[in-house]
């Protein structure tokens, strides 16, 4: 377990880093450096924005999936994106680490800022971006390799760390992902031999091993049973504060349980964004209320 103080320190470090970065990249951004830490105009302030969408749209061959979204996702918090199937929530999530690039004919319009820098500007190094924005997918997708090789896949890519260092990283990441005790004796076994829930936590550990700033989770529990689901939810709670977590979920109870902030997306349009408490207790929009009370969706 991580003590409150440690979380606070971690958060402080992240913020210091971020401040340093914005300072350095002030020239790259069109806006003044301090603007990166504030929310977009017309949006409520929830602390420093880590990811910010400004009139951001994603199109599949001219068909918009995400339409003119304005959104500021606060740093160090858990933000849930909810909405009915096909509302563009996964597309929005996958835009943040440019996974949509893999889809032929998929283009983005508007700006999507990460630490104040537009990630869709042509000079962005996508590989470097993905290093800073980790992702956990809907279905657990460990590589058909050993548990150890899975966890250190990222660190091995980015540095020529020694074996000892890699072992350290593996242990730390697996501990963070609350999997260490279950797999410490089977590091050399194939990861596909783990249970579904363990596989998903391994995927989280694998993402954490790269030391990202943001963790994107695309319905991380939809393929898991209730026990494994609650295990992952506990894990998200433990990771809160250390990383900016953005989670897409179908399950409104889950959003209510794990997130600090909730965005409701409907047919590609951001209907409402606010603190989870506010969204679930007194939604400002009729459609939000209809959705969370189960009238459609």
């Amino acid at each position: 377990m991580i003590s409150e103080q440690a979380v606070g320190l971690e958060l402080q470090r992240k913020q210091d880093n971020a401040a340093g970065r914005t300072g350095n990249r002030g020239g790259a951004s069109e806006r003044p450096p301090d603007a990166a830490s504030g929310p977009a105009p017309g949006l409520p302030a929830f602390g420093r924005a880590h990811v910010e969408a400004c009139d951001f749209s994603v199109l599949y061959r001219k068909n918009p999936a995400v339409k003119h979204v304005n959104l500021a996702i606060p740093a160090g918090k858990v933000t849930a994106i909810i909405g009915p199937s096909g509302c563009g929530k996964s597309t929005l999530l996958r835009a943040i680490n440019r996974m949509n690039d893999l889809v032929p004919g998929c283009t983005a319009e508007g700006r999507l800022l990460f630490d104040g820098q537009d990630i869709y500007s042509p000079d962005v190094d996508v590989v470097a971006l993905r290093r800073r924005v980790g992702m956990v997918f809907q279905k657990p997708n460990p590589f058909p390799k050993s548990v150890f090789d899975n966890v250190v896949y990222g660190p091995r890519l980015h540095s020529s760390a020694s074996r000892n260092r890699l072992v350290e990283i593996a242990e730390r990441s697996l501990t963070d992902a609350a999997l260490w005790d279950e797999v410490k004796d089977r590091m050399d076994q194939n990861a596909l031999g783990l249970s579904g829930g363990q596989q998903q936590r391994l995927c989280i550990a694998r993402a954490l091993a790269v030391d990202p700033e943001i963790l994107l989770m695309d319905e991380p529990t939809s393929a898991l049973d209730p026990r494994a689901t609650s295990r992952i939810e506990e894990l998200i709670a433990e990771l809160r504060g250390k990383y900016t977590i953005i989670i897409v979920t179908h399950n409104m109870q889950q959003a209510a349980r794990v997130s600090d902030f909730t965005a409701f997306l409907y047919e590609g349009v951001l209907i409402e964004f606010g603190s989870t408490k506010q969204i679930f207790t007194k939604p400002g929009e009729k459609r939000t209320e209809d959705y969370i009370t189960g009238r459609f969706g």
């Binding site: 680490n97 996974m99 993905r130 980790g134 997708n141 590589f143 390799k145 980015h158 194939n190």
Partner: protein, 448 residues
């Protein structure tokens, strides 16, 4: 539909399925059993003393003193034959001219038949061809040659309305009343004493070079040639095919050009192999001049071209079968595209790729037409590695055809043909088996 009807239908479907499998198995046995039995005859057979003499003289194999004793005992058994022949010749020489004329031709034929059976007649000059320097090395061929010595073939055209009839006339009739008439029963009754047949395992058939265009020796040059050609073809086809498959699956955008390219690859797979052979001759040898004439190199390149579509297709399918989530996971961890392919996609696709490779290898090993014009010769020494760039080679597939159709004495070397077929079929079967095992092993490792 009534339950009873459904049950009957079900049963008849199951029955016909089982019948089909049984028929297939039977066909396989009918096909493979003679191949194995006859092919085994090249290695397991009843060898005569002539075989052992050949082994000793050419390969220095065998127990020399023991063999010399055997040769001596065979010589003693043969001595009466030669004695009778010599006596008769002497009598003819001193006898009447009419008698000389009467027996000249039959005697010549008889001496030739005896020489075919037992080897050169003592005192005669040493023959030039190796096939005439030894008697029959195989017991079953000795039986055939014995009947040639005992009977002569005569065509009967007495009935003009029918085709000629082949009749066997005993030679003893030609020599009845002469001192030679006891020769025939002696030959018939003492053949085993003269040739000393013994069951032999001549496994060196696989590793011996051949003598006198396959009359004697083994098929090592063919095996080695097939090995060179197959491995050479893989050396060209594998990197090219793999790169092409990676490009087509991971890099190419789906457009008109790629569509046409794919169609071309499929078409290439359907081009008759003889066309590849001609193309190889025209392009690799005449245009590119990779060698001044036929060479293993040119043959390997031609074979590579022929199996390239198969390799590309297999690799493409295997890469496509890798779950897209692997690639997504790798990319989301900050891997570059090439890195994701190299570390995740290719290892996961390996079982499929390997299967494709091994099956293509089997095809390259067995294909004849592409190497006729580019690499194959009917007789040759085993090549050293550096000779593959300039020299042609015998190869299993080509020599099966060559020995069965173009050899001067096809009947004499049937066992070599069967041996070649057996080796080639076993090679392809082993390759396929290896593919299956490898696939199972790696899939198991990947599944965990």
């Amino acid at each position: 539909m009534r339950l009873a009807t459904r049950k009957i239908l079900d049963r008849s479907f199951t029955g016909s399925g089982i019948l089909a499998i049984v028929l297939m198995a039977a066909a396989l046995i009918v096909l493979l059993a003679p191949m194995f039995v006859r092919g085994a005859g090249a290695i397991f057979f009843t060898a005569t003393v002539e075989h052992r003499r050949l082994m000793l003289e050419r390969f220095n194999r065998g127990n020399r003193p023991q063999l010399e004793a055997e040769i001596e005992s065979a010589r003693q058994a043969r001595a009466p034959v030669y004695q009778m022949l010599a006596d008769f010749e002497r009598r003819l020489a001193s006898g009447a001219a009419a008698e000389r004329r009467q027996y000249a031709k039959p005697l010549q034929e008889l001496k030739k038949a005896v020489q075919n059976l037992l080897g050169p007649i003592p005192g005669a000059p040493r023959p030039m061809l190796m096939r005439s320097q030894y008697g029959q090395t195989r017991w079953e061929r000795a039986q055939v040659k014995l009947s040639h010595a005992l009977y002569r073939e005569e065509w009967d055209y007495s009935d003009p309305t029918r085709r000629g009839i082949l009749r066997l006339k005993p030679r003893s009739a030609d020599f009845s009343g002469t001192p030679l008439s006891p020769l025939f029963p002696y030959l018939e009754n003492n053949l085993d004493r003269m040739l000393l047949p013994r069951r032999t395992v001549y496994w060196q058939f696989l590793t011996d070079t051949s003598f006198d265009s396959h009359f004697f020796g083994g098929i090592w040059p063919e095996i080695l040639g097939t090995f060179y050609l197959t491995v050479g073809a893989m050396l060209f086809a594998l990197p090219l095919g793999l790169i092409a498959a990676i490009y087509l699956t991971e890099y190419a955008r789906e457009n008109r050009f790629i569509e046409i390219l794919r169609t071309c690859i499929s078409t290439l797979a359907g081009v008759p192999s003889i066309v590849f052979g001609l193309f190889g001759l025209a392009f690799f040898i005449h245009t590119l001049k990779v060698s001044s004439s036929k060479s293993v190199l040119a043959g390997a390149m031609t074979l590579a071209l022929m199996i390239l579509p198969t390799v590309i297709r297999a690799a493409e399918e295997a890469i496509r079968a890798v779950p897209a989530t692997y690639k997504e996971a790798a990319l989301s961890l900050g891997a570059g595209r090439w890195h994701a392919i190299w570390t995740i996609i290719l290892p996961a696709a390996l079982p499929g790729i390997l299967t494709g490779i091994v099956i293509s290898m089997g095809r390259a090993a067995g294909e004849t037409a592409p190497i006729i014009f580019t690499a194959a010769v009917s007789v040759g020494k085993p090549l050293a590695l550096w000779q593959v760039f300039t020299q042609p080679t015998p190869a299993l597939s080509w020599n099966i055809y060559n020995l069965a159709t173009e050899h001067e004495a096809v009947d004499e070397i049937r066992h070599v043909q069967y041996g070649l077929v057996l080796v080639l079929v076993s090679l392809v079967l082993i390759l396929n088996l290896a593919a299956i095992l490898m696939r199972a092993r790696i899939s198991k490792r990947l599944r965990g």
